[in-house]
Symmetry: D2
Subunit: 311 residues, 4 copies
């Protein structure tokens, strides 16, 4: 581990979308250095190990399997190994890692601060969890009806690897649904909201835009649920977290409201007579949904305020 004054951060996978964006944001942070690996050696394991050895913390911006391999390399280093923030899905719902979602609870934020291993949340689950968890916890949702999350994402959520599915002529002037009822991000939402699998329906959909996620979430309230109670549940949950902005009842955000920011904006409409509720939750999938959330976690891991260097 480094003994220098500046904390050394190595981004393993720095050439991908998330890696690039994390580097850009870290440029605003004092007291951290982010040395680059020689591009020619990015896949050279000896060079990577050397980077890992020198790092205080490594951010993994890699596919799941490569992330698992990088973790194994770190473990070979024993106590000299760096702390790890993994942006892949490999360690989010298994392996005993701390889930890097400080907005969930004060305890969760504290756990991130001191953790050696933190899993950075997925983009779809971030928008869903922030909208759903406080209401379920506050008992304002009639769980017998289930919760439906109709999610839409910009194309950058699919990564930079060229594919027919993300080519311009297939996406422009189109809109499509995929992974209906079996999206791989669902377990992350269940884990954080406490919902059972049959209580949660999720559909992913592709919007012809670069960046942004909008999720429209449907639920039934309990007899006690009111618009005021919903607002209060959100405000209580996110007191102290400027990363989440709650709208007045009846007002909902659009994707541009959070473009290129680290905010999750949430609005809702509730009809007390029929107990039908609709929530709209938006994030920038590259920002709050990936790199911004990673920097929030890094801030905590280095003892900064969670929103330092973000906007």
């Amino acid at each position: 581990m480094s003994t220098g004054k500046e904390a050394q951060i190595f981004i393993d996978g720095e050439a991908g979308t998330t890696g690039l964006q994390i580097r850009e944001r870290l440029a605003n942070l004092p007291g951290v250095a982010v040395p680059s690996i020689d591009p020619a050696l990015r896949k050279d394991n000896d060079a990577r190990k050397e980077m890992l050895r020198k790092a205080d913390l490594v951010v993994l911006c890699l596919p799941d399997d490569a992330a698992r391999e990088a973790v194994a390399m770190c473990e070979e280093l024993g106590d000299d190994g760096p702390r790890i923030l993994d942006a892949s899905t490999a360690h989010r719902t298994s392996g005993g890692w701390v889930y890097g979602f400080p907005e969930l609870s004060a305890g969760q934020a504290e756990a991130v601060r001191t953790a050696k291993r933190v899993a950075n949340p997925g983009c779809y689950p971030t928008a869903a969890n922030l909208a759903i968890a406080p209401l379920v916890k506050a008992g304002l949702v009639d769980r017998s009806f289930g919760i439906i999350c109709d999610a839409k994402s910009g194309v950058s959520g699919a990564g930079r690897k060229p594919s027919l599915k993300t080519s311009f002529c297939e996406v422009a002037e189109n809109f499509s649904a995929y992974s209906i009822l079996d999206h791989r991000h669902v377990p992350e939402v269940l884990m954080n909201s406490g919902l059972d699998e049959d209580e949660f329906s999720f559909t992913a959909q592709l919007i012809p835009i670069d960046r942004g996620i909008l999720e429209t979430i449907y639920f039934r309230g309990t007899e006690a649920t009111t618009a005021e109670a919903l607002l209060a549940a959100y405000e209580t949950a996110y007191a102290g977290f400027e990363s989440v902005r709650i709208y007045n009842p009846g007002q909902v955000p659009d994707v541009l409201a959070v473009a290129r920011t680290n905010y999750c904006d949430i609005g809702f409409k509730y009809d007390a007579k029929t107990r039908r509720g609709v929530i709209v939750s938006v994030i920038d999938n590259v920002g709050k949904g990936a790199a911004g959330q990673a920097v929030q976690n890094l801030n905590l891991m280095f003892g900064f305020h969670h929103f330092e260097g973000l906007a």
Copy 2:
């Protein structure tokens, strides 16, 4: 009323999107003539009355209030007045007009054939009704859970009148929800599906594309519901209607599947274990959602096969 051999059709409001598109489609139909009004006289009521007098049938492509006024003009003509197909929302759920939706039932198709007054359906309700009505009628939906319709439309659905909401810089790279739980098209869906108001939740959303509607519809099945039963219900309902195409269970269409066509494509996924069902219904809002549907109705009103001249 004309006594000539060709049926005379007057499109009142021929300069708008729907009027232009109807004219284009009617060019394929034999036995009908579509005379134009002098553009300078489009708002001259004497000239319009003269056109109405000569017409066998008038298609109203007008705002609601103007449509009501045009109907009043026709009624002044008494028995000489033309048959009317109204593309506005003015007469869809009130006034005793025939709702121009032949796919609903054999009786409905027959009613359109002979009607003097036909209301052309709205774009959102068309995609919703075609997906929902057969399943409700077949008793395959657990109505106590309600049905949720998360609808998305291209921008042409908002008409050609310039507004900040439909300007390029507001729409591109954006996605937004509006009219949550109170969209004016909801009564049309209730009327045709037999659902009560509190059983149906509808959200309209704007996709940054020109044409196309995709609706993601969520329901709970009954104990008897299976994917096979759902498929059978659709196939029974739409036998003889090539305007509706049903996909194999688990397959769903995207917007491009129906671009510039008169088809409604419907696919669904059903999880019998948890009784959760998700339907995806797509149309071209300018085609099947407006001008194409109008020509389907005109075909019936003039004794043609419903899909004549369409594709």
Copy 3:
């Protein structure tokens, strides 16, 4: 060669954009049959040879090298081999093939009618040649200044093969220039306009749209050049060709004017005082720029009017 009553056309490469679009257009033509090869055998040379043997005419929708191989196969068949229309660039400027551009001259149209080997023009050269050739031939251009063609194309011009360059997130909200002064299509323009290489500058650029080419072309007129003379040169050149539409001086088309059509629309502005001329030429690159032009040539090769089945 087939002895049946219907002319047999085989599209070698029918799964690509151009192949699919040609098939769609041929469905409107009487007297021709377009049998499909078993998809599993598309790359099986024995199966392809069998298709070639049975065909009266083959349309090659293949990369250049594959097109050359297909021609070799046809030649092995000797007199039994089919006529060939090649949509690749392999035979446009070399090999003695007839260049399939009937609008160039009455002689060219006649040559296409009887040719055994026809090369279908490229998309960029089609819009350029139609705009430039008549003016150069009529002596209305001061060649010492050269002609500049600033060309812009939608993304479908790059084909369906996924690449980073054509992925949504690289193209949307972007605009880029490529192949400046060395585009491979330049020789086609020189061949048809009679310009020398140093008299013609060409820049290709990518517009974030699916379909459409717009070329802005700059020239200096001679002392005798007037707007009327330019108009007359175009009208003379394209008399009898509804595929080219000339606008009144001062009026220019946009891309949507020709979307999904087989038209080339041309408008220009000429300032006689300074002898500066600007031409705007637009086509649908998939239509008039590829499949539509192919069908124009097929029409001639089978003795139809050139615009049969097109719009």
Copy 4:
């Protein structure tokens, strides 16, 4: 005039695109305050005069006529009146104002620093002037051939006022040319490059993107011109100005290279054999083309480095 410690800046027209963007950028500058007018009083002349009286400097983000009226109000205040930076076209080429384009020359930068009246350049002229002026001044352009500027802009360049021309369905999937040979921005380019009117051809075109300008500029070199000489001319002209970035010969920028920045990126290709040169110049029309350039000028007017608070 204010006697407080912080310089007081009033943005007259703060609700428009440019006004909003200037305010956002000024938030990064120390020592300046940007008080807001009560939104209800934005068109109240007494309230505006009061704001003008208190301001050290006013930025006019208004239509041309309104800008002229605001200047008259300032002049009524005599010596108490604020310095003025006018973002409209009203004072760019007439009236004796300083043209706010410090990259033109050291003298120009010095003039901005001390001026009471500065006209902020237009978006199209900025990209054109930066690309053309150094080459003309260095004698590397054969002016007898003229210079052709084929310019393309995103839709935000047309302002926020709704119009059919900028509505989504007219712009998306389209590309169009306008103001051919008579664009109102041409005099600004002539003034700065020293070209005569008949030496410069300009075409404006609309790209279906929100932000960004790309100009493709064509010229003929002199006998002495080489790629190296062109590069040297640019590097000499922009030494000390990080706002302009010059690419290596043969490399050209795209629109995304400068999105949301204050940079003008310039690349070119030159064929010495035929003396044909092609330049590609890109800016963000909202940034370097409007608000960024305004802040560059404000920086100079307040004694800061020109790029302070920009990126």
